[in-house]
Symmetry: C3
Subunit: 255 residues, 3 copies
């Protein structure tokens, strides 16, 4: 069993387009080990110079019809929200262009590391299909004016601009991409699985609430976190100046 | 018929104050051609060294009375929300100082290009009138601490700081302001009007919703967008490697 | 009577841990003069190289039990929301490390000035206690990806990064910390107390509302603000080109 699940978009000839079958396999890959006690982190990367070009436009002509289109966007939204709802952090490792739903994928990950040659765009407006679903993720990641300029002009932003505005977490030279991403992944892996799972779920939940409701939610979670075996182990280890030994089990501390 | 509507604040002697009559004429100008099939973008600029100094304080003394004051702020809020609700993108072209409701106007536009000598402030606190309505737009454009420091101190921020925090979209040297703004406007104009209209309305709508409701809204819109004549034309043109020919009409694609 | 209330975290030997008694005394200090007509600003600083290390972990072991833990987090949330709800601006003056609830404290203040050697982190994940309550304040201050990387890795961010992402308002060299903070505090003190109080409360209120409700709230407040004695005094002083003389009283202007 492995603590890190690597998911690789592996259709570089089609610019890693998020076709319906690619989306379904992405969903399957995310779900495979996600409830396994050993999994701590998922890393999504891509083969070739394009991280992902977004939906496969061949699937979006009138030949396929409305129901098929609806299925594509439903599956896409499922994958994007799944990334935020699984109990382990999901890291995007980006080396190249991420556009439309490909940019949405990066925006949906918890952490994103990108090379300085990477760029990000929502060019749907140029092909008559405004990037309205990517805008759900991007509009919640960056300031509104940044999102709107991307959406209305379709122009790409650089990795540095993406970093500046919060779309990605870190920019690195190409030769250090794996090393730096691995370092973050390893850091994430050092923590207790149920503690991270509780923390991630609570973050999503409280951010959707008003301030006072958010504090009520989070305060109760802190008390529950302390009642976990790993919550007590961590604090004891800190006070005893030793490394914690996690059980990684969702069980309460002995009284 | 023109594709770009230029609105110019033209009372530089009064620092382009947003008096009630200026607000009413701004509203009228925005609405004039907005439903015309040919309009694609609105650009708001100003004459003189001050973009706009905000409300005309002479209109806010006790001489005018409560009802008049209410009318001023009601009209102002109408103009600011109208900018976000019209079916074409609105670009602010700023060369100088934008304060109080003038800063709110910049914050309310979809895209804002400013010269490096421009600055932005909410100095109402200094004259005993806290910039609470500007704060609605500015608080949704920049991080909270940036908004609060502006509001509590009244101190201006530079164009570079405004760019950094998302209040504006681009900073340019004064001699390139028109050229750069025009380039963005032309880029916006190359898109299909009904596609942009649907995208802009959807962005505003989904951003006010929770994540899952936002995805439900946006996913349905993507399918509707694909059913538009221009949605199908854009995708066909892309697949056939040619320039799209937009109808700009809100009509469905033939089955 | 003084216009500025200085609150100093003064337990540097315990890294200014926010123990229950420290939180209670913080609450008491905030409330002491807060309704006094003369108070205009509160400045929170700390003795020693650590601004605050967050909760006292000795208070969070199973020895204290669930009810005690609940009391700690309830009191902490009370203090953090109190800072945002009191009628005067609260400024954090930070010189050193602010972690976990210490970072939450900085995020909760209206304005934060920090030295360039300061740093900010939410390392709870390392001791098995995910920083879920700090995340309420931090997640509302910075972009989501910045918050999530801090929360999942526990790694610190520098003062410059904190500034870039909106967690703090200004970075200064250590030798200028007091001078620069004082300058901002004095600027805040020059305004009318009821005007600032109305503005601060309205900012919190409207930011929790949708755009149209926010404009309805803020537009009414602008009219109310104009009806204040100090609202009319400020505008008259401006029109007469003289300094305003504030009453600092929550009373209406004479008709």
């Amino acid at each position: 069993m492995k603590s890190s699940q690597a998911i690789i978009l592996n259709n570089p000839k089609k610019r890693n387009a998020l076709s319906l079958s690619m989306l379904e396999s992405l969903r399957e890959n995310i779900l495979t080990d996600v409830d396994g006690e050993d999994l701590r982190v998922i890393v999504i990367s891509a083969e070739g110079p394009v991280f992902s070009s977004g939906h496969d436009l061949k699937e979006l002509t009138s030949l396929q019809g409305r129901e098929y289109h609806a299925k594509v966007f439903h599956t896409c939204s499922e994958v994007m929200t799944l990334i935020q709802d699984v109990p382990v952090p999901v890291i995007a490792m980006v080396n190249g262009v991420a556009t439309a739903a490909g940019c949405q994928l990066v925006a949906s990950c918890d952490i994103a590391v990108a090379t300085d040659k990477s760029s990000f765009a929502t060019p749907g407006v140029n092909v008559g299909l405004f990037c309205s679903t990517p805008a759900v993720a991007i509009g919640r990641a960056v300031p509104r004016k940044v999102a709107m300029e991307m959406l209305f002009t379709g122009s790409p932003i650089s990795a540095q601009e993406a970093l500046l505005h919060g779309l990605i977490s870190k920019v690195v030279p190409e030769e250090r991409l794996e090393e730096e991403t691995l370092a973050i992944a390893q850091r994430v892996c050092r923590a207790s699985r149920p503690v991270v799972a509780l923390g991630k779920a609570t973050f999503q939940r409280q951010m959707a609430q008003g301030r006072d409701a958010a504090y009520a939610t989070a305060s109760k979670v802190m008390v529950d976190n302390l009642a976990l075996r790993d919550g007590q182990e961590g604090i004891r280890a800190f006070l005893e100046k030793r490394q914690p030994v996690w059980s990684h089990k969702t069980e309460k501390a002995p009284p």
